[in-house]
Amino acid sequence: MKLAIINGSPRGKKSNSKILTDHFLKGYNSLCPDIVSVNYLVNSKLQEESKNVFRDAETVIIIFPLYTDCMPGIVKEFFEHISECEISRSKKMGFIVQSGFPEAIHSIYVERYLEKFTKRLKCHYLGTIIKGGVEGIQIMPPSMTKKLFGKFEALGKYFAKTSTFSAEIKESLRKPLKMSPLNAFLFDAISKTGLTNFYWNKNLKENRAYHKRFDKPYCVKTSS
């Protein structure tokens, strides 16, 4: 299997998508020694390379963060390019969509697009892995990310064996689809204490911008 991974995060090599990819590949390469091409769409030169990589690979996984309820513009541009290329019908395509929202529900709409897009290209759809709650993994202590990274390694191992995503891990990663009423109530209650804003407040304070956090810079004041 000639596998290529295309990272569509606008943060490129500093992205959470890269971290998840690295763990997927750790698992994958523990069973399959093949060199997997990992390409980044973050600049136009790399977009060009990625098109060639996409064309030549037998199996492609595209990973990106959810941006305004869909794929980032940079990924959409890539989709427009590859939809104009001649593609081998035997190509397999899978996707990994990660987001900062804790629930998977935000990403299930773009999942439908991704499946339809793969069909439009007449490629074989391998499915979409959805994982929420990813923003912040770069500052979380290892104890908080161990389980997540372990699942991505297991996903990579399974992929090396079967060329498919494990249905069991896929289901596990997308939990919760929505918060339970109890968890939603608790989240709402905790948010009133400001605890859920910790990550944002920490960064606002580090940047001396906390006092400006409710600014409305694009609001045009109308004279009365």
Binding site: P10, S15, T68, G73, V110, R112, N203, L204, A209
Partner: protein, 183 residues
């Protein structure tokens, strides 16, 4: 009313879509203030996910390009029209590029809304919007449903409402004018 049209047509010289949008803008201008942004001709960059707009210069994007004037127009409008020929089954990357930049119009803080996490408002009001699209030869009902649902999700996060989805091949300009002005 103030209407902002984001035209995501990427082939404006050889495409009747932009002609349709120009005619629409002309009709809307009779009784409204209309601003049309031909996104593909503007100096617009992709959102880099730097979060400056959330934690360094709250609400303001760090990229110095034309997005600032578009964002100002969007957040002060009474109605937005997202206009785009469909490409690869969705609105164009030019339109998506601009929509991605909306993130700074919201606050990073999260609140529960209908049992889901969504971003808090940064501004007091957000404009409702309509979609004007041009179909591809292979566009089918499933594509339209997917697009419609994704923009409904955008509406939830944008504290807004999607008022209509119209297609240039089946809708008269007068109908869009009516629905835009009577939303």
């Amino acid at each position: 009313m103030k209407i902002t049209i984001l035209n995501g047509d990427m082939n404006q010289k050889e495409n009747d879509f932009s002609v349709f949008i120009e005619k629409l803008a002309g009709k809307l201008q009779v009784n409204n203030t209309v601003t049309v942004y031909p996104l593909h001709e503007m100096n617009l960059h992709y959102c880099t996910g730097c979060w400056s707009c959330w934690w360094k210069t709250p609400g303001r994007c760090a990229i110095e390009d034309d997005a600032g004037k578009v964002l100002t127009s969007v957040i002060n409008a009474d109605f937005i029209i997202f206009a785009s020929p469909l490409m690869a089954g969705f609105t164009s990357s030019a339109l998506k590029k601009m929509t991605d930049r909306f993130v700074g119009l919201l606050h990073p803080y999260i609140k529960m809304k209908n049992g889901e996490c969504h971003h808090l408002k940064r501004y007091d009001k957000y404009p409702d919007f309509g979609l004007i699209l041009k179909k591809e030869p292979d566009t089918d009902a499933e594509d339209i449903e997917i697009i419609s649902d994704i923009y409904d999700r955008l509406a939830i996060n944008f504290h807004s409402n999607k008022k209509y989805i119209k297609f240039t091949d089946t809708t008269k300009i007068e109908e869009i004018v009516y629905e835009t002005c009577n939303n």
